[in-house]
Symmetry: C2
Subunit: 293 residues, 2 copies
């Protein structure tokens, strides 16, 4: 089938055609051909991220259920940068999504990035354009990894919802990965566990975004989460977009510096006393020690 035929077939309800088109936009050599054949349709994108085990998939499943109850068509893109190319297969552990698998108005798909940095950044916006053009009313992007991929998702999602569990572990991990900076909403899931209220209070000291509690496995707090997502979408302003952009730029810069091959040499020079940490930091960010440009 040609791209035009696939699009037509996808619009008639063929999930197989949608899957084929998603595979084409994952391919850098075919992507442009698909995008050129699509109308520009505004996309509504919600990002769900957080540390492993926080309950992201369960949360996505209940959100899909709630949006389906409103008659919306929903696409779920599950991003796992650490996994090899999945060929569009469902992730094996997505048991919570089982109830939606046979729903023709729910598309569930894992996105491959083929391992190269920037792959996700190129694929996801194209997949979003495709799904919006194919009349999916809401696109949920769930990231399974930690760090880089979440920041990339924050660049396209509005809001970015960060799911955490009670206690210090998830919150510290989120802070270290820069997730608290890209979060538009913070959700403490498994909030029936001990310490959830304290975690909410602790997070409130560290973030100015709304903080919600959720027991996704029981559906508790889901209407409030959906209200908060919609309130955020309605209230978006240039100032908010600028604040999100600032957080994304900082997080990306941070992860680039961390993986800079010069860092080991600079650290060795500081450790043996032939350089000081200030001049080394200035060299790392390419400014030769004369203060911020």
């Amino acid at each position: 089938m040609s791209v035009t035929e696939l699009i037509s077939s996808a619009r008639s309800g063929s999930q197989r055609a949608v899957g084929k088109l998603l595979s084409l936009v994952e391919d850098p050599e075919r992507r442009e051909e698909v995008l050129a054949a699509l109308d520009q349709v505004p996309a509504r994108v919600v990002g769900i991220t957080g540390p492993p085990g926080a309950g992201k998939s369960t949360t996505v499943a209940v959100l899909v259920g709630a949006y389906r109850a409103r008659g919306m068509r929903v696409a779920v893109l599950a991003v796992d940068p650490s996994s090899p190319y999945s060929g569009g297969a469902l992730l094996g552990d997505r048991i919570r999504m089982a109830e939606h698998i046979n729903d023709p108005d729910v598309l569930i798909r894992s996105v491959a990035t083929r391992g190269h940095l920037g792959g996700l950044a190129a694929v996801v916006p194209a997949a979003i354009r495709l799904l919006a053009a194919l009349a999916y009313d809401l696109i949920v992007i769930e990231t399974v990894g930690v760090g880089q991929s979440e920041i990339e998702i924050a660049a396209v999602a509005n809001p970015t919802v960060v799911i955490l569990n009670p206690g210090a572990g998830d919150a510290v991990q989120a802070a270290k990965a820069g997730l608290l900076e890209v979060a538009d909403l913070l959700v403490v899931n498994k909030a029936d566990r001990e310490g959830a209220e304290q975690t909410v209070r602790d997070l409130r000291q560290e973030s100015h975004v709304p903080i919600l509690t959720l027991v996704a496995s029981k559906g508790t707090g889901v209407p409030e989460l959906i209200d908060a997502i919609e309130a955020h979408q309605r209230a978006d302003t240039p100032e908010r977009r600028t604040a999100r952009a600032r957080a994304q730029i900082l997080s990306l810069a941070q992860s680039r510096l961390r993986t800079d091959p010069d860092l080991a040499l600079l650290a060795a020079a500081v450790a043996e006393g032939s350089d000081d940490p200030y001049s080394a930091a200035a060299k790392l960010i390419g400014r030769n020690g004369d203060g911020p440009a």
Copy 2:
């Protein structure tokens, strides 16, 4: 009195002379004169840092007591970059230190940085050299601020001890400020409070350094903390120094990027769509978007 006379007087036990010399090394125009008159004596420096309210002063007080019990002469430098020049007065809230104030072998002094960035970095190493030359066996540096000053302390202290309280709040704040990266020892103080064991478990997921519990106000855990400090000092290696240097460089680079005046312009460009976060991050770190150098 001349510098030589002050040094002689300080060596005879005059705390007044030590205070005068510390004031001189705080003065960029007199510093070199003092340093030139001193012998090079290896310094033993312990850094105590952590979020406000974690119990740093109480911990310092019990550490001083324990080291004094071993007959060591101890100097405490309290660094508060946010306060105006203190003229060498004791900080008013240092009630816990009261028992040591009349001990001629304990020096307690707040360090002024006169507000300019890098002031602390220049003053503290000079003060350390002075105190080591004046036969203080241990120099404890306590930082009252958050962020930049702790990273500067980590550059001179071995070990850097980060004091936290049970719960997510302090741990998240420490992670955000980059303190988890510069910590050589993590101490959960007020460990008789609920959730302390969970906090230890959570921190263990995020850090590879030893994690101790303490109830500083009761003295519980102090011998173990002193053992851990000494074990760390004995076990220092070039690899550890390199790892500390790496963390310091990254934290300094991070705080420079955060305060870069270009960031607001870059964020606005990304928010309005005239730039993307990846190229903006590359510009922020001065590399023109062609990947890590």
